[in-house]
Symmetry: C2
Subunit: 249 residues, 2 copies
């Protein structure tokens, strides 16, 4: 028995990060790539429901479709893989997914979708700057994927994993972290089209972090691999008590 | 002083739901619409970063741009409104946003973005079937927006509000709920293009609910307005303890 592993990402099927991840997890089972045709960064948990999607097989166990990472996960699991996978891995994203950025991330959203289906799911990002080299991170991905299979995940929870881009000997270990807060200042630029009309371009600006000691950002900054358990339940349970008490009908 | 209120949605600036919501909250302050040009349902928390965005003013205090609900929120707050809004309202979505669907919802994501900026944010959906009539829901939106201004929200938390489509006299009240779980079966249909190639279309299928008594779905089903506090922090804090204990490095 060779268990199935679903491999996806948001940068598209030709991205070097997904190929490195695919190679890494092939040692653990039959690893099948189902990834977007095009770069789908920052699409979050988008689902394509207003048109049909077309799946193409590029080579053995490598498929692509004209949709989002969430589309790839749901169609991969329900229509492409021969059986329910024992694991979903997403990435390796070139660039970190830390703090509030998790909410926008296609890489993480694919793992959210996997978790909804009850599949242990891991999202991998390489925290650093271009040029990206995925060799060390792929080794880490192999190790953490093995541990997920061996020790399991908390219920209804995925792991958001950020690996600092450093030589293997300079990575200080693994920390289980919580999500920090990332605040952007001046992250909208103004530009003009050829007809001199003003446009806005989201991006750039300066980043400020908050959230304290044991956050994802702090861990990566200090040279550790950050592993943050992310839950599906978005309810603020303490907040319910607040509302019950303070809102007078 | 007439405080600013940002009004947005995912169905586009011409949708009847946003016009009803705009009318409702105009009694509470200067309500400014910044909404997508086109229907952006199920885009989740997508942010457009690969191209510039163009804002158009349609009439006084009604703006539209060629992007997503999250784009509208960030550009509306940073570039269009004359001052920081005291409230963000999103919707009214024609159709419920309950359980796991929250994660895909553009309506809710606009409110997540507002909350990241520290603005009290409410997402409104009308739970029912077409034809939709927004009159009763708009009255509820006015009431809940007033209460949010008067009593405040829990920190880093938005409200996801679902209003059953019923005559006002048949709405049984307001319940503070938690997010339920929605599971779809056979929610991918197969279809063929004119060249007889198979395509997949996400949608349809049958829905199963779980999560028990005090969930959003149960409340709406029983004829109550469901108000679920949704938090920005996605960390499974108990899950961290599980990992610390069970994962042997």
């Amino acid at each position: 028995m060779n268990p199935c592993i679903l491999v996806t990402n948001d940068d598209g099927v030709y991205a070097p990060g997904i190929r490195a991840l695919h190679e890494a997890v092939r040692h653990l089972g039959r690893a099948v790539i189902v990834a977007p045709e095009q770069d789908k960064s920052a699409v979050s948990h988008s689902l394509t429901m207003n048109r049909p999607l077309h799946v193409r097989r590029l080579e053995e166990d490598i498929y692509t479709l004209d949709g989002t990472p969430t589309d790839c996960t749901t169609i991969g699991m329900n229509k492409i893989l021969p059986e329910k996978p024992v694991l979903l891995v997403s990435g390796i994203n070139p660039g970190a997914n830390l703090g509030d950025d998790i909410s926008y991330s296609g890489t993480v959203s694919a793992a959210i979708e996997g978790t909804m289906y009850g599949i242990p799911s891991l999202a991998f990002s390489l925290a650093g700057e271009a040029p990206f080299s995925f060799e060390v991170a792929a080794g880490v991905a192999w190790k953490l994927a093995s541990m997920a299979l061996q020790f399991g995940l908390p219920e209804k929870t995925l792991l958001n994993i950020n690996i600092p881009q450093r030589p293997a000997g300079e990575i200080r270990g693994i920390l289980f972290t919580r999500q920090g807060r990332r605040i952007y200042h001046n992250a909208i630029q103004e530009t003009f089209d050829p007809w001199n009309r003003k446009h806005y371009w989201i991006g750039g600006g300066t980043v400020h972090w908050s959230g304290g000691e044991d956050t994802d950002e702090q861990a990566v900054h200090a040279g550790y691999i950050s592993v943050t358990p992310i839950q599906l339940d978005l309810t603020n349970h303490a907040g319910r008590d607040y509302l019950q008490e303070h809102w007078k009908m």
